[in-house]
Symmetry: C2
Subunit: 304 residues, 2 copies
């Protein structure tokens, strides 16, 4: 048995996970961050709530960069170069394994979702950014070698990215990118249904897909362009690594299949090198939703 | 002991290679291709010339795509879907291991050159195209999962590539791309020294570097632009895989360090995600030159 903890922006979610990757017990508490020492203590307390005899380690998925038992930095939580495992062990004497959230999503799907039965697998998470988790020959590219495939440039001298490059895939294929593309289309097209669809909740990642479903031409064009951006980086990744399956997760992946996955598959099939020989990569939706983070964190020790 | 055979456009070069990756005996014959059956027989005959007791397998590096003991296709040699190992074994009863030439270059450098002592390593070969050989956790991404990193798009809607995409890295960062860039600069700059430098042998990959060494402004600009293209794809590859070392091989890699490797390292350091944390990838020249193919083919069985 393993414990997995998914650290989000507002909550910590913990699960007791069995050898097959199933969550058998779960707990959730607010993050309420008050410094690294208190955070380590909270992780230990939360672990105790789901603990049972035979637990081998606690895995933690974080939105940031890690190296062994150390946190290099976390996005939106004030931790930098923190020896988290060392702090944690003062409260609970179990190994603490750390992974970034995109990597944990990949590990979760690898054991319990879209990547079951593969050796070479990737998950691309379409959220605030574009996260990538990559498993090669059954081992996670984690820690210091964790993939940053969201920072492949797909448009030379394109949109500036926080990473310092211009034109990163993440600027175009994330929910953030899609929202920006939707807003720009709305400025050019005051007649578009996008204005009605977004009137109440504002423009979201799903806005363009909702208006496209209703037949709005502007929205259909936004979705097409978005899929084209998504495919561009996807083919780059596939040509480099030739995985068996790439799964698509994150909020945007909930879009209707005929507007997202189907045209994405067509675009990738048209461009990927595999049509000249070599492995054909399948593109599937991620299956585990929010549970992927807990399961992946718990299973970290199985792919290291 | 292993036998490695490097299949080039005009010659077959074979070597008897020891456990440390050293060539202890070598032979070379013209390719003289007369069909797959005769080719398999030639490979067996050439193997016998360097054979000694204790040889475990024959590895063959080919400019094409392979799957197990089968050749899917070879560039410039008329073979498609050929069960080469099966044909070979009628003449010599040893396992025949196949690899593409970029992969063999990576394996050679991994054991005996720039990649010694690493676990995660890549070789980028700058020749007619941009070849990529990738080793992850000590295992080659070979056969059906062999990398085609030369077909990362670095310029959206850029130069058409044979692969069907537009703007592939290979169109810009290969010797072929550099020659094209040099010729275009010469058209725009009749005063450039490039015309004198290329007067005898025509424009080659090294032409721009030679004229730049002599202080020609146009040539210096060509070299800078070329390094920029090279860095663009290199950072993409590094952000995806975060290897310990990337070695640069192929004809272009012989360019003066201050015109190629030094500015390349600067550009990569400026753009790679590693400056936010994670592993910093080193960029080195490949060390083995033409021997990499023989050594890499011989060592294929050690990285599968």
């Amino acid at each position: 048995m393993y414990i997995g903890i998914d650290v989000g922006g507002t909550n910590l979610k913990a699960g007791l996970v069995d050898e097959t990757g199933k969550i058998v017990k779960a707990e959730r508490i607010p993050l309420n961050f008050q410094g690294p020492e208190q955070f380590a203590k909270t992780l230990a307390e939360l672990s105790r709530k789901v603990y049972q005899d035979g637990v081998q380690w606690v895995g933690v998925g974080l939105p940031g960069a890690v190296d062994g038992g150390n946190v290099l930095f976390i996005t939106n939580i004030a931790m930098e170069n923190v020896p988290l495992e060392q702090m944690f062990r003062r409260h609970l004497d179990l190994p603490l394994l750390l992974g970034n959230d995109a990597d944990c999503a990949a590990v979760g799907e690898f054991f319990g979702g879209a990547g079951r039965g593969t050796h070479d697998f990737a998950v691309i998470t379409l959220g605030t950014g574009v996260g990538a988790g990559i498993i090669v020959d059954g081992k996670l590219r984690g820690g210091m070698s964790s993939s940053e495939a969201g920072h492949i440039v797909i448009r030379r001298d394109g949109e500036p990215c926080n990473c310092g490059r211009k034109g990163c895939w993440e600027r175009y294929a994330s929910a953030t990118g899609l929202i920006q593309q939707t807003k720009r289309a709305m400025e050019r097209h005051p007649e578009s249904l996008l204005h009605q669809v977004s009137a109440v909740g504002g423009v979201e990642g799903r806005t363009a897909f909702q208006a496209a479903e209703a037949g709005d031409e502007t929205a259909i064009a936004v979705c097409r362009q978005y899929v084209d951006y998504l495919a561009s980086g996807m083919v780059n990744l596939i040509n480099v690594l030739r995985p068996e399956i790439v799964a698509i997760g994150g909020g945007v992946s909930a879009a209707p299949e005929h507007l997202l996955l189907e045209p994405l598959r067509e675009a990738v099939a048209k461009e990927a090198f595999s049509r000249h020989g070599g492995r054909v990569t399948r593109i599937l939706p991620a299956e585990l939703g929010n549970d992927a983070g807990i399961i992946g964190a718990a299973m970290l020790g199985r792919v290291m």
